[in-house]
Amino acid sequence: METSIRKHIEAIKNGDVKLEEFVSEVLERCEKVQSKYRPFITINKKPDLKKSKGKLAGIPISVKDSICTDGIQTTAGSKILEGYVPPFDATCVANARKEGGIIIGKTALDEFGFGTFSTNCAYGAPKNPHDPERACGGSSGGAGCITAAADFPHIAIAQSTGGSITAPAAFTGTVGITPTYGRVSRYGLIDYANSMDKIGVIGKEVYDAALLLSVMSGYDPLDSTSSEEKTDDLTSYVGKGIEGMRFGIPKEYVSDTTDKKVVSGFMKAVQKLEVAGAKVEETSLPLTKYAVSSYYLIAISEASTNLAKYCGLRYGMQQEIVGDFETYFSKVRTAGFGKEAKRRILLGTYARMAGYRDAYYLKALRVRAKIIKEFKSEFKKFDALIAPSMPILPPKFSEIDKLTPIQTYNMDILTIASNMAGIPSLSVPVGKADGLPIGLQIMGDHFAEGKLIQIGSSLEGR
């Protein structure tokens, strides 16, 4: 079966694809991938095929399980939402369906997005198709997994708060685009940290990611933080060339803490950008050392507040009602939340306690303001910043088990600052080391997704 989205679209237009047969075959293949790598929490066995025209007509789409889908279980990877079947679509899903996208399933993630490797999963961790003993990266690990493993045309709707698209894209050798905060409506997304959550895309090629992001983008009256900024057809930027563009490499992103094999693979790709006509210079983002702490303070403060709504009465996990409200509420939360969710609730509760709010949460927000200014200043000098997507190659599950929480949080060092600043980033695969994929990320100014697609596509096929 053809895996190229562009060729599949052509085949659909030419009437060469019988939709029902095609979808039936795709679902069979999903089951096979599921038995090997576990990318899904739910496979949608009866997808809606009524809409047969549009920009995504006949294209199988998977949806991260933290995004609501009408009539399909949505758990956010947590036992506390087990059995929850939303009666509505998230706006991004509704937009994809309107354009003929076929929802084939819901992909695995770290519970509520709390993780770097997709190992904090209540329904099982997805395995990396490049080496099943290794993780796919998180938190959109299922999205990266199915995109890499799919032997059929497919694009994934993913989501990032602090690097949850870039990490799995890098570890699975796929393309991931994290758009500007507000570019895609968050209506229907199960919140992690409202001021940083962004819905984006993972695809096999830059074109695929550009296509789905174009369909999902735009102002939505149902999300007051969505942007009115004009949305282009982002596919028009694919293959435009990068002659004369200037890129900065932040020296903090290729320091001793980044694996030498990753840096080596990254630098080979930089040479390709130079051959394509770009000028590349070293630059510096001195505030990088404050990014992980300030990010986690904002994230845990917002997350612990958001998780207070799961009281076990209206949807998801519900138990026998005994005792008063406090007793029942505590019982359900204790049974429903996993280890990392509890850790973040405890940390967030502490950071928001009377007397600590100014020292932690507000201080972190002030540091974020500084980080945004630092990026803005760089984009006066450069078209984009480029760096390795992740500081390591995809790790083995046995290696992840040995990491302490703070060691894990520090693995986000290359993706945290851009996510906090709400700027867009695109991760593209740029070769392998030891048979494992390496990603290069391109970070641009707010709403510069088109330029990132232009740059990312220049690395494809080189």
């Binding site: 702490s293 519900q318 509420f329 609730i345 703070i406």
Partner: protein, 84 residues
Amino acid sequence: MEHICMLAKLNLTEQEKESYARELSDVLEAFKVLDSIDAKDEPAFHPIEIKDRLREDEVRRTKWNPLGNAKSVDKKYFTGPKIV
């Protein structure tokens, strides 16, 4: 830890409390790096400028049943534990 668990509405075992307390101490220690930065900037509550947008308060009919995901219901109501 007892107080945080009470505020967070989590029932943890003594062993869990000890383990989380150690991890939280490590994380809070790492957060101390922020003490070394002088940040007087206005807090960035959002990464981009957010406009206040208020819609008309109109009655709209929904097609879905709000009780559809609840296990414990009584006619048109959710039922839950005693609050007062």
